[in-house]
C-alpha cells in the first residue's frame, strides 16, 4: 500500500468519481469517499455497492455540503479521520474532489511526496496578502457571522452582512489563530493533519469556523500554521477561477495544455470530457517524471479569459460588449487624426499628407454630400460602405467601425463645420484621437467660391456657429483627445512648425524631417473678404486677426504668387 491516501469529496457525476477513485486505487492509494448528503439514497447505495469488496475504498459519514458553508469542512474532517484511522501506512493525505483528474501517473505523485516526507502542501496566506478574493468579503469573512446561504438566501445574506457592519458587531478570532486563506485543495502530512484533528481546542475552533464565510478556504489554512514545521504554500491541484470566483472547467481541447502543465491533479474537469478521462486515466499517460508542476501557460490563458470578460477589447462595440460612456476601456482601438481646416488652407493636402506619412488619409468622411474615403473608394475595410445615409444613421458606429476595421494602420480624415457633428464628443473623449483645428479656415472655400454675398454671409454665420460649438467641446475639461487649435491667422504666419509637431506624433515611421511642404492657397484678398462680412454685420472671429491689407475688393491689385511654405 502506498503512503498517499486520497480523500475525495463527491457530489455530482458519480460515474466519473468512480472512475477516478479506481484509478487511485489501481495506483496503490487508499481512497476515502465522502458523498454529499444531497445525493439521493438510491444513487448513493448504488455508488457504494460498486465498490463492494474493495478494501482500499471506504465511505465516510455523510454531511450536507453547500458551497460556502461548514459542511464541506465537516466532510473533509470525517473523511480524514477515517483515512488516518483505517490506513496507518498513509503519510500524506490528499484532498480532492470528484471532478479532479490526476494528470500524472499515481506513482509520480507518490514518489514526489515520498521525497518530501515532512512537507505540507497547502496554500495559506494572510487576508491582507491575497489579491484573489472575489465579492468584497476578506477580513470580514472572519469577523462577521453568516447564518444565511449565499446561493439560496442572497437577500438575507446581504442584509445581515450590512446590518452587522452598521451595528459594528465583530466576532473575536480565537486566541492564537491568525486568519489565513488559500485554495481548499491541500495535501497534508499525517503529523499535521492529526494534530489539527486531535487538538484539544478543536471544539472551540470548529465552533468559530462554523460561522466563518467559506470556511473550507480558511479552516485548514489557518490551523496548519499552528502545527506545521514545513509549509509549502501552494496547492498541488491545478485549479483556476474566473472573475466570479467559480472554478474554470477543463475540456477535451485542453488536453495538450494539461499534459504540458506537469501538474499532478487538475480540477474541474467537465464530466463529458471523454478524451481527457480516457487519456489521463489510460494505461500510459506521457511520463513527466520528476518535473516540477508548471502551470504557467494555463495561468496565462485563464488570466486572459478573465481580462476579456472584465476589460474587453478596447474600441470594440459588438453584440456582447456595449460599454456605457466612460466605461469603454478605450473609446477606439487605434490612434487616428482629425484635421480641421487643413484641406481648406492647403492645395492637395490629402495627397501631401499621404506622401509625407504613409498613413491612410481620407477626405471629409462626414460631409453631407459624400463619404470621402481615401482614393474615393466606395467601400473600405470591413465592407464599410460610402453611403451617406448609412453613415448618418449611426455616425459614431461608422467611426468606431472604421478605426476597428483598419487597426494597425493610422487613419486621418478631414473634418469641418459643414460635416455631420454627431461624432464630436466621441472624438473629444478619445485618447486615441489627435485633433488639429485651424479655426476659421472654413471661410477660405467661401472666399474662393462664386456665390452671392448674402448667401455667403448666411453660410459663414452658420459655419462659425457650428465650429464655435465644436471648439467649446474640444476645450471642455472632459476632453481626453490630443487637441491643438490655432486660429487661421496664427497658423498662416508659420505653418510648418505646427505641421511638424503633428506629424512627429504619428510615430517612428514618419520621424524623417519634412522635405516637401504643402502649398497654401492664394489668400490675397481674404482679409478684405472678412472685412466685407464684418461690414455686413456678420462678425467672423474664429480666424483671428486678418488685416484687411488689400483694401476694397474691386481695387486693382498686384498679382501675387501663392504662399509657398518652406
Amino acid at each position: 500500500m502506498s503512503t498517499v491516501g486520497i480523500v475525495m469529496l463527491v457530489h455530482t457525476a458519480l460515474d466519473r468519481a468512480e472512475q477516478v477513485a479506481r484509478h487511485w486505487v489501481a495506483g496503490g492509494c487508499p481512497v476515502v469517499l465522502h458523498v454529499d448528503k444531497k445525493v439521493p439514497k438510491s444513487t448513493y447505495s448504488a455508488f457504494k455497492a460498486a465498490f463492494a469488496g474493495e478494501p482500499m475504498v471506504r465511505f465516510s459519514r455523510r454531511h450536507r455540503c453547500e458551497w460556502g458553508t461548514w459542511g464541506i469542512v465537516a466532510a473533509s474532517q470525517s473523511a480524514s479521520e477515517m483515512m488516518l484511522a483505517q490506513y496507518p501506512d498513509v503519510r500524506h493525505v490528499y484532498l480532492a474532489s470528484g471532478s479532479c483528474l490526476p494528470l500524472r501517473p499515481v506513482a509520480d505523485l507518490v514518489d514526489y511526496l515520498a521525497a518530501r516526507p515532512r512537507t505540507d502542501f497547502i496554500e495559506s496566506a494572510t487576508t491582507a496578502d491575497v489579491p484573489w478574493i472575489v465579492g468584497g468579503l476578506d477580513v470580514e469573512r472572519f469577523t462577521l457571522r453568516f447564518p444565511f446561504s449565499w446561493k439560496t438566501q442572497r437577500f438575507l445574506f446581504d442584509k445581515y452582512v450590512n446590518l452587522q457592519r452598521r451595528l459594528g458587531i465583530k466576532r473575536r478570532v480565537p486566541d492564537g489563530l491568525v486568519p489565513h486563506m488559500g485554495s481548499q485543495w491541500w495535501c497534508l502530512t499525517r503529523q499535521t493533519l492529526s494534530a489539527i484533528l486531535e487538538d484539544p481546542e478543536r471544539e472551540r475552533y470548529d465552533r468559530y469556523f462554523r460561522k466563518v464565510w467559506i470556511p473550507d478556504e480558511s479552516y485548514y489554512q489557518t490551523l496548519v500554521r499552528l502545527y506545521s514545521s514545513n509549509i509549502e504554500s501552494r496547492s498541488l491541484t491545478l485549479s483556476k477561477f474566473d472573475f466570479q470566483g467559480k472554478p474554470h472547467n477543463f475540456y477535451d481541447d485542453h488536453l495538450q495544455l494539461l499534459r504540458r502543465s506537469d501538474c499532478f491533479v487538475a480540477r474541474k474537469i467537465w464530466p463529458h470530457a471523454e478524451r481527457l478521462y480516457s487519456t489521463f486515466l489510460g494505461d500510459n499517460p506521457d511520463a513527466m517524471k520528476g518535473t516540477e508542476p508548471n502551470p504557467g501557460k494555463i495561468d496565462r490563458i485563464f488570466a486572459k479569459a478573465v481580462e476579456r470578460r472584465t476589460r474587453g477589447r478596447p474600441g470594440l462595440y459588438m453584440q456582447s460588449r456595449m460599454p456605457a460612456n466612460g466605461s469603454e476601456n478605450g473609446v477606439t482601438c487605434n490612434p487616428y487624426s482629425m484635421f480641421q481646416g487643413f484641406s481648406e488652407l492647403f492645395e492637395n493636402f490629402e495627397d501631401w499628407l499621404t506622401q509625407a506619412t504613409g498613413a491612410k488619409v481620407h477626405g471629409h468622411l462626414f460631409s453631407p454630400d459624400a463619404v470621402e474615403f481615401a482614393d474615393r473608394q466606395t467601400l473600405i475595410n470591413g465592407a464599410l460602405c460610402d453611403s451617406t445615409s448609412l453613415r448618418d444613421y449611426n455616425p459614431k458606429a461608422f467611426l468606431t467601425n472604421l478605426i476597428w476595421n483598419t487597426r494597425g494602420e493610422r487613419q486621418c480624415f478631414q473634418f469641418g463645420p459643414q460635416d455631420n457633428q454627431a461624432i464630436n464628443w466621441l472624438v473629444a473623449r478619445d485618447p486615441n484621437a489627435q485633433v488639429s483645428v485651424i479655426s476659421g479656415a472654413w471661410a477660405v472655400p467661401l472666399f474662393r467660391s462664386n456665390k452671392n454675398f448674402s448667401e455667403l454671409r448666411r453660410e459663414a454665420a452658420r459655419l462659425q456657429q457650428i465650429e464655435a460649438k465644436h471648439i467649446e467641446v474640444l476645450r471642455s475639461r472632459h476632453v481626453k483627445a490630443r487637441v491643438r487649435i490655432w486660429t487661421m491667422a496664427e497658423f498662416v504666419e508659420s505653418p510648418m512648425e505646427p505641421i511638424q509637431t503633428i506629424l512627429d506624433e504619428f510615430g517612428a515611421q514618419t520621424q524623417r524631417h519634412l522635405n516637401t511642404a504643402p502649398t497654401m492657397v492664394d489668400l490675397a484678398g481674404f482679409g478684405q473678404f472678412l472685412q466685407n462680412l464684418k461690414n455686413q454685420g456678420m462678425h467672423p472671429y474664429l480666424m483671428g486677426d486678418f488685416p484687411a491689407e488689400q483694401g476694397p475688393l474691386n481695387m486693382p491689385k498686384p498679382s501675387r504668387k501663392p504662399y509657398l511654405v518652406r
Partner: protein
Amino acid sequence: MGGSPPWSLFTGPVQPGMDAVLSLWESYRMRLRRKRRILRALRKSRELSAVQDNTARIRPGDILLVMTMRNEKIRLPYFLDYYRKLGVNHFLVVDNGSVDGARDYLAGMGDVSVWHTMASYRRAGYGVDWMNYLKRRYADGHWVLVVDPDELFIYPFCDSRPLRALTDWLDNSGIRSFSAMLIDVYPKGRLDAVPYRAGQDPLEIANWFDSGNYSIKRNPLYGNLWIQGGPRARVFFADQPKKAPALNKIPLVKWDRRYTYVSSTHALLPRGLNQVYEIDGGEKASGALLHTKFLHTFGEKAEEEMLRGQHYNRSAEYKAYAELGEQQPELWCKWSEKYINWRQLEILGLMSKGNWA
C-alpha cells in the same frame, strides 16, 4: 450642451430616485405585456395540429430546438445533421403549410415532433406565438435553441466542445440567455450560379460575409441591442437604413414557462434575459448565427414571399431584392471576408469567448 458631454439616455449616469419610480411602473407594464404575449401564444396554439408527437421522449436536461419552416425540405438534411452533431436532443417543428414534402421527410424521425398549420405566419407574430406556445408546453427547464432552417449556430469552441459544454457552463455561471448575432453569408458571384443540393453544407457555396459595417443601438423598451448592417443593409437598404433587418438574436435560452419572445428571437420578456451584453467595458460570451439565406433558392423564395407578404415589414426585403431584379445584385465585394471558423469571427470582434476558456 456646451462644455459638458451630452450623456445620452443609454450611456449616462441615471438619477437613482427618479429611476426607481419609473422602473416600478415600467416593470408593471412589461409584466402585462409578457402576460399578453403568453395569452396570445395560448390562443394561437389552436392553429397548430400535431402531426408527429414524439415529445414523450423528451427527457429532463435534453437540449431542444424549436423552429418554424415553410418549404425548406432541401435544407433539412444538413440542418438536422448539423444540430444533432452539436448535441440537440429533440426538434420541435412548426410546419407552416409546406408543399414540398418536408413533413414526409421528417416522418418517422424519433427526435422530431411536428405541428402543422395553414394559418397566417404574419398574424402569429411571424411564428413567434406558435413557438412560444411550444416552448411553454415542452421546454420548461430545458435549454432551448430557436433558429430558422437557414441559420447555423456558431459558438466559442463549437469545433471542439458540444452544445452541452456550453449550456453546462452557462448553468454554472448563472447565465440564462446567450446571444448570437445573425451574420449573412453569401456566395461570390450570382446567387444562382451554384445550385445547392440537399444534404450539402450551405457554407460550401455561401461562405463570404461582411466583417465590420454593423450599427448597434440600444432598444430602450426591452433593453436589447438593435444591430443592423451587413450585406443586406449595404445593398438593399443603403437609402433607408432604418428599415434594414435586425441582426441581434438571443437564440439560446434556459427556458421557463413564464418567458416569452416578443419579436422573432430579437428580444425576450422578462427584460433581464436581454442583458446579454456588458456595459462596463468587458465582453460577455456570445456566438453567431450564420444566415445561409442567399443560395440559389433565394430567387424563388423572393417571388413567392412577395406574393404572400407574410414576412417582416411586408417582405420589404424581398421587395428590395426583386426591384434590383434580373441584374442580380452582387453581394460580394472586395472587402468581403471568407468564412473560416469561429476563431476568425472572434478575432474580427463579431463574437466573443467572454471568460469561457
